[in-house]
Symmetry: C2
Subunit: 102 residues, 2 copies
């Protein structure tokens, strides 16, 4: 848990929003039939929702992944990203510990 890297990654409203949107699959268009039952959301859907360029969103997802905040799984040409709930909780705890606990 690299708090510094995680905070840098989350010090951006769009990346925070993405993490927030990923909380519920219903924030995105329905998955293709062949992807039914798969967890996560593909880059194109996230891009459309965020309204930024493809390269920017791919980069953002890479940053979120490097910080450990999302997990990714490739299925064919698609990469599906989903939240890493454990890491998100760990980040919040580390942050709270540094700020509040002695």
């Amino acid at each position: 848990m690299d708090l510094d890297k995680a905070l840098t990654t989350l010090n951006n409203p769009v990346r925070r929003k993405i993490l927030h949107w990923l909380k519920h699959r219903s924030n995105f268009p329905a998955a293709l039939p062949e992807h039914a039952g798969l967890d996560g959301v593909c880059v194109a859907y996230i891009q459309e929702k965020a309204g930024l360029s493809q390269s920017t969103i791919s980069n953002y997802m890479g940053l979120l992944k490097e910080a450990g905040l999302v997990l990714s799984e490739r299925h064919g040409q698609f990469t599906f990203y989903r939240r890493n709930e454990d890491a998100i909780r760990a980040l919040l705890q580390a942050f709270e510990k540094e700020l509040i606990e002695l």
Copy 2:
């Protein structure tokens, strides 16, 4: 509670350390006799502990204050800074809410 501004302010290990140090007055040299009973720590002590220039620390304390994370009180030539516990808790809650709660 401007989450964005607070996160930007705390996206810096020295500023986080300062907030951490301010948790306990004993992290700094003893107060001068004439300042006994006063809450907070003067800029010079914080500067010495952080090992950065006077202007940098003054600037940092200004950022922390602007973000609402510390309170300041002037006494003579000295400015005493102390944590704003309510704001720190509010920040953590807002951050947690954006990341975890629906």
